[in-house]
C-alpha cells in the first residue's frame, strides 16, 4: 500500500477533466436550459481542475512524496482503489452514446457528482494539513451546488 498527496491531487485533476469532457459531450446532444446547464458545469469543472493543479503545484517536496503505508487504514485503502480507477468511473464521457434523453444524462450526471463528492471528502482526510483543506471544502460545496442544479433541472422536466 503506497500512494502520496501528489497522486491524490493528480486523481482529483483527472476527475475534473473527465467531468468537463462529460458535460461538454452531454451539451452536444441537448438544447435549451439543459445545454446551458451542462456548458456551465463544464466550465466550473475546468476551474476546479485548475485549482487542483495549483494546489498540487504548491505541495512541498516532503508532502508530495509522503506515502501512506498503513494497511489497516480503511480511508487510505479506499483512496488507493479510487486512485487505481477501481471505484469510480474513469471515462464518463465515453459512456455517453449521444442517444440518451435529457433525463438519463441528468441522472448519470447526478451519480458522477455524488461519486466526486465522496472522493473529495475522503481525500480531505488524507491530504497534508497545509495543503488546502479549506479549498477542498470550497470545491466540495460547489459540487453540492452542481447536484442542486441538476435536481432543479430534473424537476423542470416533469
Amino acid at each position: 500500500m503506497k500512494f502520496n498527496a501528489d497522486e491524490m491531487f493528480e486523481m482529483a485533476e483527472q476527475i475534473e477533466r473527465n467531468g468537463a469532457a462529460f458535460y461538454k459531450k452531454a451539451a452536444e446532444s441537448v438544447e435549451g436550459n439543459a445545454e446551458q446547464l451542462f456548458l456551465d458545469l463544464a466550465a466550473k469543472e475546468e476551474d476546479h481542475e485548475k485549482t487542483f493543479a495549483a494546489m498540487r503545484g504548491e505541495l512541498t517536496e516532503a508532502e508530495r512524496f509522503s506515502s501512506t503505508r498503513d494497511p489497516d487504514n480503511e480511508a487510505a485503502m479506499f483512496l488507493q482503489h479510487a486512485v487505481d480507477g477501481e471505484v469510480f468511473d474513469a471515462d464518463p464521457a465515453g459512456d455517453l452514446s449521444g442517444q440518451e434523453t435529457v433525463e438519463q444524462i441528468l441522472r448519470y450526471a447526478l451519480g458522477r457528482e455524488k461519486d466526486t463528492i465522496v472522493f473529495f471528502q475522503s481525500m480531505k482526510e488524507m491530504v497534508p494539513k497545509q495543503s488546502g483543506k479549506e479549498k477542498l471544502d470550497g470545491i466540495i460545496a460547489q459540487e453540492v451546488g452542481h447536484i442542486v442544479d441538476i435536481i432543479t433541472q430534473l424537476k423542470e422536466l416533469k
Binding site: F78, K114, I117, V118, Q121, A141, V144, I147, V148
Partner: protein
C-alpha cells in the same frame, strides 16, 4: 424549511436494513468465499442499523424538534433533496436491482454502488446529527463502509 434529526437517522437505519437484506439475498446465489463475505457484510450492516436505531432512541425531546434552516442556503437545499430521496434513491428496493444481475461481477459492481451511496449520504448528513460523540461514531461507520468498498473491489479484481 425544517429538518428533523429523527428523520435523518431513520433514513440511515432504513438504508442499513436494506443493505443487510441485499447482502443476504446476494449470498443465497453465491458460494465459497463470496458467500461468506457477503454474510459478514450483512452482519455489519445489521450492527450499523442497530447503532442508528439506538441513536434515534437516545434523542432528547429537544433534539427531536424540527430545526429551521435557511431555504436559500445551499447546504439546506442539499439536505432537503437528500431527505426527499432526490439524491440517493433510498426508497428503491435494492433486491429489484439484484434480480437484474446476471453474474457475480454484476452483483459486486451493484454492491459497490450501493456502498458509495451510503457513504455519500452519511458524509452529507453527519454534521446535521446532534452530539459530537454521535458524529464521531458516524465517522467510524463511514470508515467501515469504505472498507466494504475495498473488500468488494478486491473480490471484483479476483474475477478478472
Amino acid at each position: 424549511m425544517t429538518f428533523i434529526a429523527d428523520e435523518i437517522l431513520e433514513i440511515a437505519e432504513f438504508m442499513e436494513r436494506n443493505g443487510a437484506r441485499f447482502y443476504r439475498a446476494a449470498a443465497q446465489d453465491a458460494s465459497g468465499a463470496a458467500k461468506e463475505f457477503m454474510l459478514e457484510l450483512a452482519e455489519m450492516e445489521d450492527d450499523h442499523e442497530k447503532f442508528f436505531h439506538e441513536m434515534r432512541e437516545a434523542l432528547t425531546p429537544e433534539q427531536k424538534l424540527p430545526v429551521t434552516a435557511d431555504p436559500e442556503d445551499l447546504g439546506s437545499k442539499y439536505l432537503k433533496s437528500l431527505i426527499d430521496g432526490k439524491v440517493f434513491d433510498y426508497r428503491g428496493d435494492p433486491l429489484d436491482k439484484l434480480k437484474q444481475c446476471e453474474s457475480l461481477e454484476e452483483v459486486l459492481i451493484l454492491a459497490i454502488c450501493l456502498e458509495k451511496e451510503t457513504i455519500g449520504y452519511y458524509l452529507a448528513v453527519k454534521d446535521s446529527v446532534p452530539g459530537q460523540e454521535d458524529r464521531e461514531r458516524i465517522d467510524r461507520i463511514i470508515e467501515e463502509e469504505k472498507k466494504h468498498v475495498v473488500t468488494l473491489t478486491d473480490e471484483l479484481n479476483k474475477l478478472s
